[in-house]
């Protein structure tokens, strides 16, 4: 009797200890995020204002705002997304719907996507510089930066979209075929709509990643801080602006903090949107 009670209390102790460890790990992770946020808020909030968003930078960014930088960032993103999305999603459709799961072709494509996903961004930067800026003669431009980012986005977009398409129950394909629907019709009317939330979530995550990218753009889109007139102009992305302010501009800490605050808020919004999509998918009755 006494022995059993001791065993029980020992087990309870072990359980409690495990819980403690897990909770403290969770606390630690959250603490890092909260600390970062507080630091950003303390350093940047006082500098943040409507004028900061809408004015052009002056005095190397020490004064003025980040309007031209936001425009450049947006343009780079637009180029990247508009180029990467069609290619990546068509690849995903091919891999998920038309290539047999075990075929060497599918394996080869998937392998190259994995490799591409693992390439450090600085390598993409060097490649983009050599290929787009020099070889294709696009120079340091928003176009070069956007296209290089597109290469980086490809694996993220393709693999999330493929996962989304594969998550659509196979029975929909069987049923659609049994009703004499063509594969194209089944894809268009049933499978793509069912996979859309995952594909959209993947897209948002990809945009988030592109938004935070610095190294790639340093080599490809350049760091001119003026308002871009065309896609062939050099343009400075937000992350690069923060890097420049904190590294090369004495007295640029406050605007750097404020820019970082803008960047993090944008990323936060995008991540929340992505989570909402994923949650919406879970809740929807698509997956029985």
């Amino acid at each position: 009797m006494h022995d059993a009670a001791r065993k029980r209390s020992l087990r309870k102790l072990r359980e409690n200890a495990a819980q403690c460890v897990i909770y403290s790990a969770v606390m630690l992770v959250s603490a890092v995020f909260i600390w970062l946020l507080i630091d950003l808020l303390r350093g940047g909030l006082s500098h943040l204002s409507w004028e900061f968003i809408t004015e052009l930078p002056r005095d190397a960014g020490r004064a003025g705002g980040i309007a031209s930088i936001l425009v450049s960032t947006l343009l780079i993103l637009l180029v990247a997304v508009l180029t990467a999305v069609p290619v990546a999603w068509m690849t995903a459709i091919l891999l998920a719907e038309f290539v047999a799961t075990g075929s060497w072709f599918g394996k080869a494509v998937r392998f190259s996507l994995y490799v591409l996903a693992g390439v450090p961004s600085i390598v993409f930067g060097l490649f983009g510089n050599a290929f787009f800026c020099v070889y294709l003669g696009l120079g340091f431009s928003i176009l070069s930066g956007g296209l290089t980012l597109a290469c980086m986005l490809l694996p993220i977009l393709a693999s999330t979209a493929e996962a989304g398409l594969r998550a659509v129950p196979h029975i929909y394909r069987l049923t659609a075929s049994a009703l004499g629907l063509s594969r194209a019709a089944a894809l268009l009317h049933l499978i793509l709509p069912a996979a859309a939330p995952v594909m959209a979530a993947g897209l948002l995550l990809g945009i988030g990643r592109a938004l935070a990218e610095t190294a790639v753009l340093l080599f490809t889109s350049g760091y001119a801080e003026r308002m871009p007139d065309s896609l062939l102009d050099s343009g400075r992305a937000l992350a690069l602006h923060i890097f420049d302010l904190s590294m090369n501009v004495p007295g640029g800490d406050e605007p750097a903090y404020a820019s970082a605050l803008v960047l993090v808020s944008l990323l936060l919004c995008i991540n929340i949107l992505a989570m909402k999509f994923a949650y919406g998918l879970q809740r929807s009755k698509l997956m029985p």
């Binding site: 009703l179 004499g180 629907l181 009317h189």
Partner: protein, 281 residues
């Protein structure tokens, strides 16, 4: 079924005498399966099946799990094309046409040979769209015509009164039995001649199952129905013909085919007798 029928001492079965509908007096083969073998990744799943399915009759495919009933069913509308690693040898003639002919129009075949799956499989769309999508695909695009056909199909399965005021709500919000009837309606809307049913009642509760079963009984004569079922009582109640499959040497084989009554009451093969009497299987 009344209590007396259930307790009739003369009856050797537990569920009363056979109540299969009118026997088909003039059997006219509409599907002819000839020497059909089916393999998954080279492994034989169905061995040398030859079988005629008669027009306007309900034919039940019975037998234990894994004996190739569903495989045979999906070979009849070439859904086997979609199963990776599945290869079919032999011939299946549908109305005299070899459907494994390279020139066969598979989409047209699948319009002629409808299929209903085990689990209800409505699309995640509205009820209306579930019915109109396949119709559009087969070239029926006039709005009034689509609406007429949809209504007729829903009336045929006894679902119209239940859903007519919420045609635009999600099909997945219907109950399981209603979903299955919607799937049958969706197949009927394409005006097929043959309807393949893969255990259409097994995922439903007893009441919904009864409703769907009655519906299948009513299809007799208008459609040729091939139904896979594990529910022997159901097979006896609704089928005119029955085909009994068994697994031997890891491959499904057709053991016996004949009038339902014969299969259940005086089977020629001892395996059949053992199975239908619940001794084996």
């Amino acid at each position: 079924m009344t209590i007396e029928q259930l307790t009739d001492p003369c009856d050797s079965f537990t569920l009363g005498p056979l109540e299969a509908g009118p026997a088909c007096c003039d059997p006219q083969p509409v599907i002819e399966v000839k020497n059909l073998s089916l393999r998954y990744h080279g492994k034989l799943a169905l061995k040398q099946v030859s079988l005629d399915i008669y027009k306007g009759c309900i034919t039940a495919l019975i037998g234990p799990s894994g004996c190739g009933k569903t495989s045979l069913l999906s070979a009849v509308n070439r859904l086997t094309d979609l199963i990776p690693g599945c290869s079919v040898n032999g011939r299946i003639l549908v109305q005299g046409r070899n459907i494994y002919d390279p020139d066969e129009n598979v989409q047209a075949l699948r319009r002629q040979v409808g299929m209903v799956f085990q689990k209800p499989t409505p699309f995640p769309l509205s009820i209306r769209r579930n019915l109109s999508l396949p119709l559009h695909e087969h070239g029926v695009t006039r709005k009034a015509e689509v609406a007429d056909i949809s209504e007729q199909a829903l009336r045929d399965v006894g679902l119209w009164d239940e859903v007519c005021d919420r045609m635009d709500s999600a099909a997945l919000n219907l109950s399981g039995g209603q979903q299955q009837r919607l799937c049958i309606a969706r197949a009927l809307a394409l005006q097929p001649q043959i309807l393949l049913m893969d255990e259409p009642c097994s995922a439903l509760d007893p009441i919904a199952s009864g409703i769907v079963e009655d519906l299948i009984g009513r299809l007799r004569g208008r459609y040729t129905v091939v139904i896979v079922t594990h529910n022997l009582a159901q097979a006896r109640r609704i089928a005119n013909y029955a085909a009994f499959f068994w697994v031997s040497e890891h491959a499904g084989q057709l053991i016996e085919f004949g009038r339902c009554q014969k299969i259940f009451e005086s089977p020629r093969h001892e395996l059949t007798a053992a199975y239908v009497n619940g001794v084996r299987g």
